[in-house]
């Protein structure tokens, strides 16, 4: 039986009376990308810290490759790595020096070649002789990612990996991550505030709020939980009649000059459009926006906060 790359059982972290992480149970399979979403203070960073052994859990267990993390810490940390924009690196060090030190700490066998290859991939090869404090935020993020891939990790924990990157570089990095997954079956735990990025990258998404998992599924299935779509109509001539129709049919709408936005349950769209045509209301353009992961995220976070 193949063990999951990461298996977390009933992970809990309490600070006195405050529960930062509450009984989390989840796993990541070989080559899978798991997105972790949640508002600030949801417990994402605390979870990642426990997964890296820089914070002791109050209770619960963490297994990597089927082995308990507590017992096999050193051996496991050799096979995983991480990148976070919330921490830094030695300010006065040159980029090459930083990568050399981490290459040594992770005992990367072909350190020089590996650094050269990754520096090219992340487009920091021209920065190797620059000091860390001279780098822009985006360059620093690319350095963190280079460090994170140094030891050929089987699992990589990425906390906001594309924050502060230019869009073109962010795209390249997403492509790199996908390629690494495809070629080397790297598993990735991915936190981001960029919902479209999570939708694009992740096989599964876990939404945390107040330290608990409040939703856990594929991005598509989570979005499907929202039944309301947004129909947008461009009506240039029959606006008065259209407003009359919406009012008569008790349909909520938002008007902006010629544009009408109507939030409506997906299954009622056909009936709504038939009604319009029966009343001979002409529209010049129509677009239907399906619910996204972001819509689901906002709804589910709103619901749990109300409760």
């Amino acid at each position: 039986m193949q063990h999951p790359v990461l298996e977390v059982k009933n992970l809990t972290k309490k600070f006195n009376n405050f529960t930062a992480v509450d009984n989390l149970t989840f796993s990541i399979a070989d080559g899978e990308i798991l997105g972790v979403l949640g508002p600030n203070g949801a417990g994402k960073t605390t979870t990642i810290q426990m997964l890296l052994s820089v914070m002791e859990p109050t209770s619960g267990e963490i297994f990597y490759f089927g082995k308990p993390f507590k017992k096999h810490r050193e051996n496991i940390l050799k096979q995983i790595n991480f990148s976070s924009t919330y921490i830094s690196m030695p300010w006065l060090f040159k980029v090459s020096e930083i990568l050399k030190i981490y290459g040594m700490l992770y005992e990367v066998p072909d350190r020089k070649k590996r650094i050269e290859k990754l520096a090219k991939e992340f487009e920091i090869d021209h920065l190797l002789e620059k000091q860390f404090h001279m780098l822009s935020a985006g360059e620093q993020t690319r350095l963190f990612l280079t460090k994170a891939f140094l030891n050929y990790p089987k699992l990589i924990l990425l906390d906001e990996p594309t924050a502060s990157l230019d869009p073109d570089i962010a795209i390249k990095i997403r492509e790199f991550l996908k390629k690494e997954r495809q070629e080397y079956n790297v598993s990735i735990l991915f936190t981001s505030h960029n919902m479209s990025e999570v939708e694009e990258m992740c096989d599964r998404v876990m939404i945390l709020n107040h330290g608990k998992i409040i939703a856990h599924n594929t991005p598509q299935n989570l979005a499907k939980n929202i039944s309301i779509s947004l129909v947008e109509l461009l009506i240039t001539r029959d606006q008065k009649r259209a407003i009359g129709f919406f009012t008569k049919s008790k349909i909520q709408f938002y008007q902006e000059r010629f544009s009408f936005k109507i939030p409506i349950a997906e299954k009622k769209i056909a009936e709504f459009l038939t009604g319009l045509s029966k009343d001979n209301i002409e529209y010049q353009e129509i677009s239907i926006e399906k619910p996204t992961l972001e819509d689901y995220f906002l709804q589910v976070i709103g619901d749990t906060n109300e409760n």
């Binding site: 820089v54 051996n75 976070s84 921490i87 830094s88 030190i101 040594m104 700490l105």
Partner: protein, 263 residues
Amino acid sequence: MRINVNRVWAMIIRYTIYLRHNYDRLTDLFYWPALDLFIWGLTGLYIAKLSNNSSHYLLIILSGLVFWIVVWRSQYEITTNLLSEMWDRNIVNIFASPLKVSEWILAVMVFGFLKTIVSVSFSAILSFIFYRFNIFSFHWLLIPFILSLLATGWAGGFLVAAFIIRYGMKLQTLAWAGIALIAPFSAIYYPVSVLPSWAQTVSLLIPSTYIFESIRDILFTGTVHYDKLVTSFILNAIYLILSLWFFVAMFGKSKKLGLSRLI
């Protein structure tokens, strides 16, 4: 407890590069010891002149200055290297790597030892050039003196580092001030007998006291009191074990709260 030499070496290289880039640390290594030697050496010369050219005062001051560097430097390297990880917001990176706390401990001890040798050698050369004070006149006893003082510094360093890893940078002043607490009781420049009786009791508990007393014994009478050396080593062994245990325990407590809060 298996130590991975490659990772220890990586941390030694890390702190060596830090030293190369950081002028503050280079100043600590050469500038301040040199300045101390000039100011206090000249003061010693002046006092010697006032007291019928007795060289005792100069020897006391110079030996005190050179050997205290060992204690100071070895504790300082532990605490400031730990602080450098916090100042650089790098502590999570290193302890989320396969590096073990025991490997970090060994790395800062070795690095501290190497820097101590550099700093003491530099001061010794200056004292010889300017005042004809030769620390090699202690012959083989130089080795136990330095080892014992090194251990005192390490014990003090890990004690202070334990508080810093637990309470963070708000206690960083201890990195400079901590070891200075034992200086008045260590009888660096004066014998234990001049201390008030309560302070004499305290000084008997401090390993470096026995070394500085031994140094003066050799300088003035040429006799070696091995019992003092042995006492110093026994006390050092006890303190070093306790301070290492305390540091590891505080590191564990700090991990309960999360190392990222330290940055």
